[in-house]
């Protein structure tokens, strides 16, 4: 049964493609700034963090210019948080589809998660520019970013599935999501380095898979750094657990979507 569920999802992969395409097309058509939005978001938050944490609070940044440090973290975080908040509302936003036609419901949140990837790609290219401006030569390992992002996308999907399912039943989840993401951001070393966290708490920090991902992305982009595959592996394992929980819960709940949405 579970097998056929996934097979069916694959049979509809063209619909997934069209949903992603629609999301992108509409998003870039409707917003005044279009594609520029993908750059402005991480760039502006980096500028603000640079001002408050880099300049005023003198936050350490592992010996690289603070804006480079913060931006590299911000790029991946912007993807994660943007995609999660978008996808967690996707079922409710597509209620008219859920009540009018059948297709694998999993397609809707999956499309939401994938549709944010082009933004991340653009933000990554801008990351290279930011590094060059501050005289930091990007490492060749930067090219590993797409690969490192694969488990990030799976984590995003897992979290989104859980939130989207809850959102169908409880409408106040919508208001809790931004708050949750903000808390999560401060628990993730984006604007501060992992090294300022006391040693005895550090293993706890790695229970947050975004920590392992952002550290790995940074290490890949910056020259002369060794990748730490241990924390990355833990993050991947946790992500897969989250995804599995999300999928199982989604499959159980989707029977009632059309009735309660």
């Amino acid at each position: 049964m579970r097998r056929s569920w996934l097979i069916e999802f694959w049979q509809y992969h063209e619909l997934l493609y069209f949903m992603v395409w629609r999301d992108l097309k509409v998003r870039y058509k409707q917003t005044l700034l279009g594609v520029a939005w993908a750059i402005i978001q991480p760039l502006f938050s980096t500028a603000i963090f640079f001002l408050f944490f880099g300049k005023i609070a003198k936050m350490p940044s592992d010996g690289i210019p603070y804006p480079v440090f913060a931006y590299l973290g911000m790029a991946a975080w912007t993807y994660f948080s943007g995609a999660t908040s978008y996808a967690s509302n996707s079922l409710v936003n597509n209620a008219n589809l859920l009540t009018k036609v059948y297709f694998p419901r999993l397609i809707i949140p999956t499309a939401g998660v994938l549709a944010s990837l082009p933004d991340f790609l653009i933000a990554s290219v801008v990351g290279v520019v930011v590094m060059l401006i501050y005289g930091v030569t990007p490492s060749v390992a930067f090219l590993l970013w797409p690969l490192i992002m694969v488990p990030v996308v799976l984590l995003t999907l897992g979290v989104s599935l859980i939130l989207a399912t809850l959102n169908v039943r409880y409408r106040d989840v919508k208001y809790a999501v931004p708050f949750l993401l903000q808390m999560w951001m401060f628990l993730t070393p984006i604007i501060y380095p992992t090294s300022i966290v006391p040693e005895r708490f550090r293993h706890l920090l790695f229970l947050n898979p975004m920590v392992g991902y952002i550290d790995t992305l940074r290490a890949a982009a910056l020259p002369g750094r060794d990748m730490e595959w241990g924390p990355f592996g833990v993050a991947v394992a946790i992500s897969l657990v989250v995804l599995a929980v999300g999928l199982i819960n989604f499959r159980r709940a989707e029977r009632n979507f059309a009735d309660v949405i």
């Binding site: 069209f18 629609r22 097309k25 008219n96 036609v101």
Partner: protein, 419 residues
């Protein structure tokens, strides 16, 4: 060979789900809850929208699904479309199923007509190469022509509808579920849709068709399933089921009817029908009507605001929903250019009722010159026409002798012996 097999399907909703639910569910079920309210137990917070529904449909059959609003037709279609899960029972569908519970599902305002064809087509289960292969036909069928590459936010509602139906008409599924799509759109477009449905029938496709348009059901379907309060009330040949179904439409009322209390009415309500009297030539209430009678239908209406150019119409249908005639004042050369606020009536004098004995249904309406309804009461009244001894032969008039009663005389040539 079976195309659809339905075994013991039941669908239970929790009452609480309606209260907080959004408009989506409300649209389909509020009516049902109202109807069910009468028979629900106090300690029972569930309602059954469907209960123990069984039927089989053979490949190539075109089956009509009829029933009142809230009877469970839409729930049944949603279960068969896999949009919602049955609480009990099981069903199977052979081959690809497409459901048209609305046209243009997934249309997005910002996308062009062409882009929406791809979007809508793939939501309905078409593959990209299939859409590409048929896109020229779809565009042609839709008739939106040069607007195909314009965002549909610039389309009229009619254009959207045509575009949506055009995609649906090219789905080529094995089993097609259709819900009320023909209820909208102009007459010409409706004809086109009906023709397409007819072609589907010819093409050996299995179709389940929900409509309140009895003429369309009769025209398209060999078999009708009548759903009443969540159960299959009758399942059989179209004519038989439809005539039983229509017999429950309105309580037989001879002489006159109070129309003000009818709830299922369509229109702006600026002016509403309040009553109908059936009168004889002297203006006395008629308690029965016979073939060949002279009579007047007096339509009472109440204008809540001043109306210009009022058209008053009467439609008469037979038991199968077949339209016998329409009459309205404007067509007959009497224009009513101004209706002051207040109570009024108009009389339709029928010199000679040349309908066969039988049961007929009256649809009454008040419209503006733009054909917009002020008030529309569909099949609001039953008129039973009795047989009459019009010719004084003592043999009556037999309804099996056709649809209309032709007032005529026979004459014999000289030399024939008559008595």
């Amino acid at each position: 060979m079976l195309a659809v097999q339905v075994q013991g399907i039941g669908k239970r909703y929790r009452l609480g789900q309606f209260g907080q639910g959004d408009t989506m569910l409300r649209e389909a079920l509020v009516n049902f809850v109202r109807n069910a309210g009468a028979r629900k137990n106090r300690d029972n917070e569930y309602v059954w929208a469907l209960e123990n529904v069984n039927f089989n449909i053979n490949k190539g059959e075109v089956v009509g699904l009829v029933g009142r609003n809230g009877a469970g037709k839409s729930t049944l279609l949603k279960v068969l479309s896999r949009i919602t899960y049955p609480t009990t029972g099981d069903f199977s569908v052979q081959g690809r199923l497409a459901s048209m519970l609305e046209v243009g599902t997934g249309f997005h305002e910002e996308l062009t007509g062409r882009e929406n064809i791809y979007m809508n087509g793939s939501i309905m289960g078409m593959k990209r190469h299939e859409i590409t292969a048929r896109i020229d036909d779809i565009v042609e069928f839709s008739g939106v022509g040069a607007f195909i590459d314009t965002p549909i936010k610039r389309y009229s509602s009619g254009m959207r509808l045509r575009l949506g139906f055009a995609v649906a008409a090219h789905l080529e599924p094995d089993v097609l579920l259709v819900d009320e799509v023909l209820a909208v759109g102009d007459a010409e477009f409706q004809k086109k849709c009906l023709k397409t449905m007819d072609d589907l029938r010819g093409g050996g496709r299995t179709v389940i068709f929900v409509s309140h348009n009895m003429a369309a059901v009769e025209n398209l379907c060999q078999r009708v399933i009548w759903i009443d309060k969540g159960h299959v009330r009758e399942d059989g040949p179209t004519q038989q089921v439809l005539s039983n179904y229509m017999a429950t439409f309105a309580n037989a009322q001879q002489g006159g009817a109070d129309l003000g209390a009818i709830k299922s009415r369509v229109g702006s309500g600026d002016v509403i029908l309040t009553g109908l009297d059936v009168l004889d030539k002297q203006g006395q209430t008629l308690n029965f009507v016979r073939s060949g009678d002279a009579l007047s239908l007096r339509l009472h209406f109440d204008a809540r605001s001043e109306i210009r150019d009022l058209h008053v119409g009467v439609e008469i249908r037979n038991e199968l929903g077949m339209l016998m005639t329409i009459s309205n004042n404007w067509m007959n050369g009497l224009s009513v250019s101004r209706v002051p606020v207040g109570q009024h009536h108009m009389d339709l004098d029928i010199d000679f009722l040349n309908l066969m004995p039988g049961r007929f249904y009256l649809t009454l309406w008040l419209k503006g010159p733009d054909s917009k309804n002020h008030d529309l009461l569909e099949n609001c009244m039953v008129m039973d026409i009795e047989t009459s001894d019009y010719y004084g032969s003592g043999r009556g008039i037999n309804p099996q002798f056709g649809l209309i009663f032709l007032p005529a005389r026979w004459r014999a040539s000289e030399g024939l012996v008559t008595s």
